[in-house]
Symmetry: C2
Subunit: 343 residues, 2 copies
């Protein structure tokens, strides 16, 4: 059986939309057919670049187009709720960028609306689809290091994020909401749900409003998971935006090192392998490991969609990641460890 070609529309033609669309074009059986952007001229630019015939003047016009099978929302977080609710209203399957919502309650409302409408809803959380992250999970699942008991996830940089994204300097909840969300999702991908979360934050760079460093400690069943993130770390191997990891288990350890090297140590032996992301000509080399992971993320959507299965990073699943973000802030504010409540 040959699958029918899926047609989709994109809301938002900004910086990330370009990579997202390029990633779709790497996959068979899917085609971008409609665009919307608040400033129409940008949509027109994209239409020309990607040979798209339909440009809509309102999100609802695009969403209600019977010709499209799903919608990919690549706008800022402020508009996510409105657009997802519109998709629910028109029973249009939808993918939405992270963070899905500006609060946990807003996120819950979006998930419920899609559930009530009977449409699949995926949050575009691509970190767990990164080649090295996926490989680390595969090695862990193979049992070679036995049952894990501790994990460190590191993402520390002084890459000039504020030069490229000046609005970040004015955000009140900065690194956990913007970046930590990915690492918290990766931790969930590795170990399942957290039972307790404790967090401390700092503002090292005095020219910004929010916190630019956070240290999070979670209990995830039998695993203590420490997440260390920072925009103000002057480190020898600054490999922005790579995530490093060190996972200790009963029988060995796995280290995810700079430049996509993975080292697996068991009694008396260390094996190393390099698992770089696939290079795409359209990807910004500075963001390679992140941007190349959009391809498997989109492929997962297509596969789930065609099989009628809930995607790994469904809205319902992603609410748990969002909850960790807000509990981390709550913990930092109250200086208490917080038990994760049932959603």
């Amino acid at each position: 059986m040959v699958s029918k070609e899926l047609k989709f529309g994109v809301l938002g033609c900004g910086f990330w939309a370009r990579y997202q669309i390029h990633a779709w074009r790497e996959l068979d059986g899917v085609k971008l057919v409609a665009l919307y952007n608040r400033t129409r001229s940008k949509a027109e630019e994209f239409a020309k670049e990607f040979n798209v015939s339909k440009i809509y003047d309102t999100p609802e016009d695009l969403i209600s187009d019977p010709d499209i099978d799903f919608v990919d929302i690549i706008t800022d977080a402020v508009t996510h709720a409105e657009y997802v609710h519109l998709c629910a209203k028109h029973k249009k399957p939808v993918i939405c960028q992270k963070p899905m919502a500006l609060s946990l309650d807003e996120g819950k409302g979006m998930v419920q609306a899609c559930k009530d409408a009977g449409i699949p809803f995926m949050v575009h959380e691509n970190w767990r689809w990164q080649t090295p992250i996926r490989k680390v999970k595969e090695i862990m699942d193979s049992g070679v290091i036995g049952k894990p008991f501790r994990c460190n996830l590191y993402w520390n940089t002084s890459y000039p994020v504020f030069e490229n994204q000046p609005y970040l300097a004015r955000i009140e909840q900065l690194i956990i909401a913007d970046l930590g969300i990915h690492i918290l999702d990766t931790a969930r991908f590795f170990f399942g749900e957290a039972q307790t979360i404790f967090c401390q934050t700092s503002t090292v760079n005095k020219n910004i409003k929010g916190e630019d460093s956070a240290t999070i400690m979670m209990r995830m069943t039998d695993v203590t998971c420490i997440v260390q993130i920072s925009f103000s770390s002057i480190v020898e191997n600054d490999k922005f935006p790579e995530t490093f990891a060190f996972i200790e288990g009963e029988k060995g350890s796995i280290e995810l090192c700079p430049d996509y090297w993975i080292r697996v140590t068991t009694k008396g032996e260390t094996k190393s392998m390099r698992v770089p992301p696939k290079r795409y000509s359209w990807a910004n080399p500075d963001y390679l490991v992140v941007q190349s992971s959009i391809v498997p993320t989109n492929a997962h959507w297509l596969e789930s969609f065609r099989a009628g299965k809930e995607p790994e990073t469904s809205g319902a699943d992603n609410l748990k990641t969002l909850q960790l973000v807000y509990l981390a802030y709550e913990s930092a504010k109250t200086n208490n460890a917080i038990n994760v409540r049932e959603l």
Copy 2:
């Protein structure tokens, strides 16, 4: 002025006493003149080996000997309180191995007794005198990395500690009380007092009673300090008993790496240097960095004693380290972050 030669006696002639005595012999102006051990034959062995003329049959006989200027207690923790109180009774300056006491209250009583007696009391906490640890502090104090905001201290091994010290397998409070105490003291040496402590523990090795892995997160003024210790870590660079560190500051970072390498990274530049401990022929190569640090620890005692100054690791100071040990256990048990109370 030539200082008078100081004479001292040792209580306890076990495994560590030998290194301790060797370390004293590296220093000028100090002489071991009296020994006591529960099993007299071991004291006799030591007397022969180190040419000591007086062996006492009770701790009090040694402590009350008017010929000795101070006492070095190198017995197990269970006897520390009794012997320190005897020293207070006889107004005899005293050094005592870590952990000074079996509970915080016991420790407080010992400190008070020495204070009331007007005698100096030092806890033999030698970790902060390790060559690389001292160097890291010196670099931090130089201001090269600016104000620190996060520190990681690592001590993870699968060195067969239970083969050498089989009693460790039966201890209920294991790695924090036995090993973590050193790292917590090192953290205090680096950053001063903790305001909050949070801890999670695991028992990875199912053949032992206590916890063999602990992860501790402290707030020490503006610094988040994470302590990771384990007797069950199968790691590539198992350099037992070296401590590794990674300290992030506003202007750079310091990394204490395997084999006593220190790497200092500032914008655009990393400088590395190797600061190995001094090699002593009497030291067990497996414990080199720890055993060689006994020499500067003892030198510090002599210097403080002669100057009439309180040593860095006085009993009063060391109570704060001991408090962190017990608060870490309390935190792990209650799964709560704990505010450090005024002692």
